[in-house]
């Protein structure tokens, strides 16, 4: 497949860019990145914990009707991909020391509940023709020029990602959504988004909502809170029960 070269010069996050994919520099959609991995000889929680103690992340490579392979990778590689926001839509070449290279797509990352450090990564073996279901991040653009946001509206992101079914080589890095023409009260539906050829959403029965531009609810709440401050505390928390 012909690769599409894009240059993204990104920018410091601005207020209304929730869900923005922060990318820098040149990248090619079909370029496979490289991950250095080590083979892991044992399965199970004991071996996985030993791997984590050694400062690495246990992973599994499965799919393509072959036996699963247990590997470990550097957590910094995972975090780099996650921070870029394109980890789950990027095809990686995993170079396993002493073994062959596997072409994989990250399918799942488990995080530590407190530290949010990656605990385990699942990779799916893929070929160019493999059809996958993948979540692609939404990139909300032109927030500064949006009519509704300039009037004080709030971008309420309903879907931070959109699930697509497509060939591995056609996975879009992100879905760009132009906010400039939307006003307060408007909804941004899937029909307003342009997606590359050969990419189909998994939701086909309706024109689903991606985001809405809502009136600032906080302003209304603050007005209420300032007007009847004492009443709100007593009414809200079921404190009437104390009188029983």
């Amino acid at each position: 497949m012909a690769s599409t070269r894009m240059t993204v010069t990104h920018m410091v996050p601005t207020p209304l860019e929730a869900g923005t994919v922060f990318k820098t520099g040149d990248y090619t959609m079909s370029d496979a990145s490289v991950l250095q991995a080590e083979l892991k000889d044992r399965a199970g929680k004991g071996a996985a914990r030993a791997t984590r103690r050694a400062g690495r992340v246990p992973c599994v490579v499965y799919g393509a009707k072959k036996a699963p392979v247990l590997i470990s990778i550097d957590p910094r590689d995972v975090m780099k991909g996650l921070h870029a926001g394109t980890f789950f839509s990027t095809v990686y070449d995993v170079e396993i020391t002493g073994e062959k290279t596997e072409r994989v797509l990250p399918r799942d990352v488990q995080f530590h509940p407190i530290s949010d450090a990656p605990q385990h990564v699942d990779f799916l073996r893929v070929s160019a023709a493999t059809q996958v279901t993948v979540d692609v991040a939404c990139n909300f653009m032109n927030a500064e020029e949006s009519v509704g946001l300039k009037r004080g509206g709030v971008l309420n992101v309903v879907r931070h990602t959109i699930e697509f079914m497509c060939a591995v080589d056609s996975i879009p890095q992100s879905i760009d959504i132009d906010l400039s023409s939307f006003d307060i009260g408007d909804s941004i539906h899937y029909s307003a988004v342009s997606v590359p050829e050969g990419v189909m959403p998994t939701i086909t029965d309706r024109d689903f909502t991606i985001a809405t531009i809502a009136a600032p609810s906080v302003a209304e709440e603050t007005a209420v809170a300032e007007g009847e401050e004492g009443v709100e505390i007593e009414g809200a928390e079921g404190e009437g029960d104390t009188e029983e």
Partner: protein, 118 residues
């Protein structure tokens, strides 16, 4: 550790508990007010915890016995990793400061978390 509610589900920023504790309805409301006042006219707040546990107590200078005390307040139990508040539609700096102010109202240690990409 918390079994659920450990990832951002609604907003771009979150306040995560890193210690255990009991949060009362008053503390949740105080934290919510601190957040909304700092954000002024922007943003959206989600509260991911609900005080559904009644706590009873006996009045002062009352002898033991004569039955259980009346419910005094409502609280929720918090375990480390639980996301208590989420925010969206504001700058990261504003969200961070709003959560700092909210954290001062809560009896648990907290951490600011942020969504990357989708």
């Amino acid at each position: 550790m918390a079994k659920g509610g450990t990832t951002l589900n609604f907003g771009a920023y979150g306040l995560k508990a890193v210690t255990t504790g009991r949060i009362t309805a008053r503390q949740i409301e105080a934290a919510r007010r601190a957040i909304t006042r700092h954000m002024r006219r922007a943003g959206k707040v989600w509260i991911r915890v609900f005080p559904d546990v009644p706590v009873s107590g006996k009045p002062a200078e009352v002898r033991m016995g004569k039955g259980k005390g009346a419910p005094e307040y409502w609280m929720c139990r918090i375990k480390p990793g639980r996301i208590m508040f989420e925010l969206d539609g504001v700058d990261a700096d504003i969200a961070k400061r709003a959560f700092e102010l909210a954290s001062a109202k809560l009896p648990v240690n907290t951490r600011f978390i942020q969504r990357f990409g989708g």
